[in-house]
Symmetry: none
Subunit: 66 residues, 2 copies
């Protein structure tokens, strides 16, 4: 148990942010969300947001294999 919860980078990134990190098109990031390959949070307006932790894991090659 530890109350020293380190500030997890739970920042929410926009499709453009994630796209820049993966060197892909923002539209492609949206496809990943639709395909369920990455968790996505929808704003009341319908826009998607992604958790930086999730993106970091994906960049590390870590991910729900299959």
């Amino acid at each position: 148990m530890s109350v020293t919860a380190p500030p997890p980078t739970d920042r929410l990134l926009t499709p453009g942010e994630v796209a820049a990190l993966f060197r892909v098109d923002p539209k492609t990031v949206t496809r990943w969300a639709v395909a369920g390959r990455i968790a996505s949070i929808r704003t009341p307006g319908g826009h998607r947001r992604f958790r930086e932790t999730e993106v970091q894991a994906l960049l590390r090659g870590e991910g729900p294999r299959d």
Copy 2:
């Protein structure tokens, strides 16, 4: 703004980009990645991305070993 300022030193290149730099087929670049001769990052879709720094080093003839 705040676009997570992606350092130009860690930009990712597509197989086609790397292939053009080496004047080889993208297929050959893929083989290098499979052979572990160059670090590769996989997109959730399965495509590969290469670090520009890694490519630059290779272009300099700086091989891991001879």
